[in-house]
């Protein structure tokens, strides 16, 4: 319905998309992340998972299922839309909102684990931290991402990373999940040339929008 944060149109001919993680890689990474979350927080007790729409919500649900398989109980899981907290909100046309769903127990005193698909500039996570601040006061906030592609523009790092993926700014990283797409895969491709500002790859290149698809 709404465009996903990561674009998933098939890249055009001049870009050679390659799959860097396949379904079983993603599955193993999420299982490991689930175990790391439990290990770090000494069990599932304080944990609340909040996925960032769109793909982060699906990933959060998968991590929840894996935690349930290990611990025998489900952790509260929700979604957190950060659209209104983005720093580029006044620079782009108004965007449709995604669904925010805070679990009934709230987040006060909990350990919130934010879940997103790709960590890039860090701006989405900054927006998410602001959004969390308006909802409650968690004991701690941690970050789980399936792919960390580097190029941070803010002092933000992930606590749980499925795969560190060194990329160039002209590349685009796309996460496909069966909940939304045909298959599970992480695909890397050259960004199709659209506007001159898009190709130059630096945030200060004069285009009004930040270069990254995934900010």
């Amino acid at each position: 319905m709404n465009p996903a944060p990561t674009t998933h149109e098939s890249p055009d001919s001049h870009a050679a998309p390659r799959t860097v993680l396949d379904a079983s890689d993603i599955s193993r990474a999420l299982t490991r992340i689930a175990h790391e979350i439990l290990e770090r927080n000494r069990g599932a007790d304080p944990v609340v998972l909040l996925g960032i729409p769109t793909r982060g919500v699906g990933l959060a649900a998968r991590i929840r299922d894996r935690i349930a398989a290990v611990e025998g109980r489900s952790v509260p899981t929700g979604s957190l839309d950060v659209t209104m907290y983005r720093d580029d909100i006044g620079l782009k046309p108004a965007r449709a909102l995604e669904h925010t769903d805070i679990p009934p127990g709230g987040i006060d005193g909990k350990v919130v684990v934010l879940v997103d698909d790709v960590l890039f500039s860090g701006r989405t996570i900054r927006a998410a931290l602001d959004a969390i601040g308006d909802i409650g006061r968690p004991k701690a906030v941690q970050l789980a991402v399936l792919v960390d592609r580097g190029h941070r523009e803010l002092p933000i790092r992930a606590d749980y990373v499925g795969k560190n993926l060194p990329t160039s700014l002209v590349e685009r990283v796309t996460v496909h999940l069966t909940e939304y797409d045909e298959a599970d895969a992480v695909v890397i491709a050259d960004k199709p040339a659209r506007k001159p500002g898009d190709k130059s790859g630096t945030p200060t290149a004069g285009s009004t929008a930040p270069t990254g698809v995934k900010a």
């Binding site: 209104m84 006044g90 046309p93 108004a94 449709a96 909102l97 308006d134 909802i135 409650g136």
Partner: protein
């Protein structure tokens, strides 16, 4: 979408986008901090040339919850009472840098004039103009009905009362037909416009025959302040034929709801028992009004528009 002047301007997709956005905005009411940063630094002027309680407060609450700065202007106590024209008022607002102007005016078409005259660069939201339109009221009514009835496609909605003077009725008929509902307007012949052929709805003079076939019934206020002449012989006769009391309400299907845009004349078009009954969603309409107006202000004002000069903050 630059302005919201008429419910008839909205496509079905536009309407659904506003309703879906309002659904997200409504969840804010349950949070400890009822504030979102989306319109930080934007200025919204409530330009009210006509009396209003809930609409003005609702727009003010909506703008403030989105972190916009709100300037309230009411014609009473302003230079309008000294004879200032709409144009000069608009130019003043433009000079002050209003990003959004929420306008209520006694003359039909005043918001349209503000939006198209070039006096203002900001977005104009029609908050009720004369007997013409009140689009955010129609949106909040549709939103309230959708929350109770699900999709409005094929739903039978009855609007009862002073259609002739009602901007709420016009906006509702336009929006509800866009959303696929079957609308029936019920009123005494004197309170229906002379030519209803352009309205996408059915008409009836018989409330009792229509109620059993209604999923929602919307009672309109009898607008005595707009009535220069007699439209019906007496208030009691109006109430007996077109007022909603508990006996009439019993004819409604089990799931049907009762709406009223407010302010109510209890005992006139709606009895107190009905207004306070469990079928009545009148108080909920007010809550939903804030969410709808947040959605409208967010969608109109949050993004770029060609008239504001923003430096990139990358």
């Amino acid at each position: 979408m630059r302005h919201l002047l008429s419910a008839g301007d909205l496509s079905r997709d536009d309407a659904h986008l506003i309703l879906d956005t309002a659904e997200e905005m409504r969840s804010l009411a349950d949070r400890p901090i009822k504030k979102l940063p989306a319109l930080r630094g934007r200025t919204v002027v409530n330009l009210f040339f006509e009396d209003s309680t809930r609409t003005r407060i609702s727009f003010e609450a909506a703008a403030k919850r989105l972190s916009a700065d709100v300037i309230n202007f009411s014609a009473k106590g302003s230079s309008v009472s000294k004879g200032e024209s709409l144009k000069d008022t608009a130019l003043t607002l433009q000079a002050m840098g209003a990003d959004g102007v929420v306008c209520r005016h006694g003359s039909s078409g005043a918001p349209h004039l503000l939006a198209t005259s070039g006096w203002l660069n900001g977005s104009v939201v029609n908050a009720g103009d004369g007997t013409h339109e009140h689009p955010t009221q129609a949106l909040l009514d549709a939103f309230t009905m959708r929350r109770h009835l699900g999709s409005l496609e094929g739903r039978r909605i009855t609007i009862v009362g002073d259609v002739l003077h009602s901007r709420v009725a016009r906006s509702n008929v336009l929006l509800l037909s866009t959303l696929g509902a079957d609308v029936t307007v019920v009123a005494p012949p004197t309170l229906l416009p002379v030519d209803m052929t352009s309205w996408p709805c059915a008409t009836s003079y018989d409330l009792d025959a229509t109620l059993p076939k209604s999923d929602a019934v919307m009672m309109l206020r009898v607008q005595r302040e707009r009535m220069g002449e007699a439209f019906f012989p007496s208030a009691r006769e109006y109430t007996r034929r077109y007022g909603l009391d508990v006996h009439r309400m019993a004819q409604l299907p089990d799931e049907a709801i009762v709406l009223h845009p407010g302010p109510m004349n209890r005992g006139m078009e709606i009895s107190a028992e009905v207004a306070d009954s469990t079928r009545s969603v009148i108080v909920e309409q007010v809550t939903n009004g804030v969410a709808i107006r947040m959605a409208v202000l967010y969608l109109l004002l949050s993004g770029t528009n060609e008239t504001t000069n923003e430096e990139p903050v990358a």
